[in-house]
Symmetry: C3
Subunit: 345 residues, 3 copies
């Protein structure tokens, strides 16, 4: 289904420099594009690929226009515009409502006729599946789960009892939402399990990556607000609240009862001590361990950069005596000051 | 099913200060409680919520009793007592034994008539399922697996060949126990797979979190002892042994052939180099990398706290020359000593 | 099925010191071996177990032969030879081709008659399953997936649309290959999803551990080359390329668009910033954060060793003022030089 550049310019608000009747039917990188493809330039570091590209058109910003030798779609935000064009050229496959004969749907569920329940799915009693929702193969919903309109569970998603998913969410394979939070009260002989009685509430337009886990609250719900994007293998403990439009990269781990503000960006493998609060607009570089609450927006770090092992080990060995080194420096300073003092001689 | 405070006090050994006939039917936090709820105070930092609570009763220790304006259940260990009361008020749903028509159970298995095999489950030949055991939807057991009395696989649990699960265990969705350990012998041209011939033995009263993986032993079994509690997305390598009542927080990773003692507490994202031994009663703060055996009980750490990125980077740059800095300090010390020596002048 | 030492020596190219007619039928560790078992000694640290072993034979290198009091199979690479003998004594169970009645296989798939589609599997339209391939229980293949000859999905593996798996691969339970890469273009109000249009190509002889995730490329494919071995719970982002015979230990996380060379060894929990290149033959110790490209083979590190918490905290506190400490040392050095200068006195 080729689309003309003119149509794309109108639909996505770009300024077209070139032939409005030229057709494109796919997206590509600048380097690998063939005629018929639309590419994009968002990162100036790739501008070097612009002159040689065989793309029929390139989405770029005004500053790069001069370097473009093919048709150009000029946009204020080329990456977001590219994303919309790519969506337009690659629409989600449509599906008919209904259920696969191997799906098991318990009585007293409410499944919209336009929703699809895939092969080997299980839908527990009392669940509510909204219009246009899609449950891919082997998805498991415990009792009382609700899924909003047009949300999709790609495959093998598990939603435990009373979990609520908003509209237009996308949950990738292996996601587990609503397993018990980690609550064990130490007692004289081992631990007593603390029942996890809350659920999980997920807002609208949330994406959750493969094999990510979000635990149910101990008493109240764990909450993921609208527009949050979560990568693969992220762990979110019980009673957390993740603010709107916050992005969490892969393998991050958020301990229980942490509250994170809006529009934060959490790097890969970042960890959080429990019971912290992080304000809006906080950015954390990869592998940082957040050991205290953050009250001021900004960029935070905590992981040493790597080095050749021999040098790193020598420096690490010094780190293990850093307190002593600092004391030695202080002694030298005191001695120096003493030498500088007017003496008795 | 409301319960009187008098009954709770007797059943759980609390000292009741208040009306024994007052009824409660749920648990709640101090802040969100409504009449009819029992709340608890375990952490003194939340004592400020005590005066304003609308809870009908609060479980607390004797030291907090003076601040309580409603009925009080005084306990030596309020958190454990709360946990027991919460269990009592929220009993596990009961189930009838049997199997869902979509479950596939191979011949020559032994399934207790009081056990439940859920929808889309698969139970391999030679498996033994004990009384009151529960296999939630889409659970997969390879051949020769045994599951003890009253153990539960919530959903989508995978137990590979010959894995043995004790009694009263709880395995959350996505758990994989008994996949091959990571054994590859380097050879002239790539690697030769080392067959992983042991299994995994899990004791009684063990809880294992969502998407956690525990590998089978190379020759002997990997062993998880009684009462161990494991959070989500933990990885335990082949040939490990985890001692009784040890607790492992989310995203921790334990390399192969590590032995961990009893009653340890392993923080989130903690890592272990392989072939180590950790004695009983060791506590590890989050993200620590354990690079050697630990022979003395106590608290250990290894992850830098976070900081503003600009400051952290300045300090990191200095770290990369820390060995040199230490040598410079040593030179200054030598120079100072020389200056202090009686000179020839 | 006992095998004579003479046959093992011939088949695996060992030099036999002992009785060629002695029979073995299992492998064991030196410590736990019983008669009839063959053990191995690869790590000199275990040589102490050699004198007392009850194994009928031991695979070892020439240097250890003098310490062996039972039959010996001398090999240049004892561990690889042990691995081959263990494979020989423990062959993979054979299976007949076909499909379980509960499997759902869409039309227009090509399934070799010697391949097995297990219980509760789902195979999407257009998929191609090669000879001798094995799909364990509850494996899910989206449309257009291809699986090469003799590759095995142990159970509960998910392969998303158009993923290609080579020959003789082994994928463990919970693996997800081809979920969407993490691509979200920031816009004025939240994020626009960037369609992930590439797939994942996995070479031959690749092993992928339980609950590991490998994302599909944004435009081109994510690529895992021949012979790569990946442990459990590893995350590989979109557009990555992992070179031949590279080994990745558990819980490592590789951000998008990272290229890793051949024969690298990536330790557990190692992380990578996105868009990096790592050359061949790079070794990374556990938990290192790779913050820049690596152009020189060798061993690299980046994680502090652990310590007693009290001492670690004291040193960490000093780290947070390390830049200042270095400046103080520089001042002392300047002052020292000044004192050494010929003065006006």
């Amino acid at each position: 289904m080729p689309v003309s550049l003119g149509e794309l310019a109108v639909r996505f608000g770009c300024e077209l420099h070139g032939d409005p009747d030229a057709l494109v039917d796919r997206v590509a990188t600048l380097q690998d594009a063939v005629p018929g493809a639309v590419a994009f330039l968002a990162n100036p570091k790739y501008r070097k690929h612009l002159p040689g590209t065989r793309a029929s058109a390139v989405v770029l910003d005004a500053a790069s226009l001069g370097h473009c030798q093919t048709h150009a779609l000029v946009a204020a935000n080329p990456y977001a515009t590219y994303a919309r064009i790519a969506q337009h050229l690659n629409p989600e496959p449509s599906f008919a409502g209904g259920r696969h004969p191997t799906a098991v749907v318990e009585p007293s569920t409410t499944v919209d006729p336009t929703a699809w329940i895939g092969p080997h799915c299980y839908v527990g009693a009392g669940s509510v599946i909204g219009p246009g929702a899609y449950l891919g193969p082997a998805t498991v919903l415990f009792e009382g789960v609700s899924i909003g309109a047009r949300s999709r569970c790609a495959a093998r998603v598990t939603l435990c009892a009373h979990v609520r998913i908003g509209e237009r969410c996308l949950l990738h394979p292996g996601v587990v939402i609503g397993a018990d939070g980690f609550g064990h009260a130490p007692d004289t002989d081992g631990y007593v399990k603390v029942p996890q009685l809350g659920a999980v509430t997920v807002g609208d337009d949330v994406e959750i990556g493969a094999n990510t886990t979000i635990d149910r609250g101990a008493i109240e719900d764990t909450v993921i607000e609208h527009g949050v994007k979560i990568d693969n293998q992220v762990q979110i403990g019980h009673n957390c609240r993740i603010g709107e439009h916050t992005v969490i990269a892969g393998c991050a781990g958020i301990s229980g009862s942490v509250t994170i503000g809006k529009r934060c960006m959490i790097g890969g493998m970042v960890g959080f001590v429990g019971h912290l609060e992080v304000c809006d607009d906080v950015y954390l570089t990869g592998k940082t361990m957040v050991t205290g609450s953050i009250t001021k927006p900004g960029l935070y770090s905590g992981q040493l950069p790597f080095d050749e092992a021999r040098r790193f080990r020598r420096n690490s060995a010094r780190f293990q005596k850093l307190d002593e080194l600092a004391q030695r420096v202080a002694r030298l300073e005191r001695a120096g000051r003493k030498n500088d003092e007017p003496g008795p001689d």
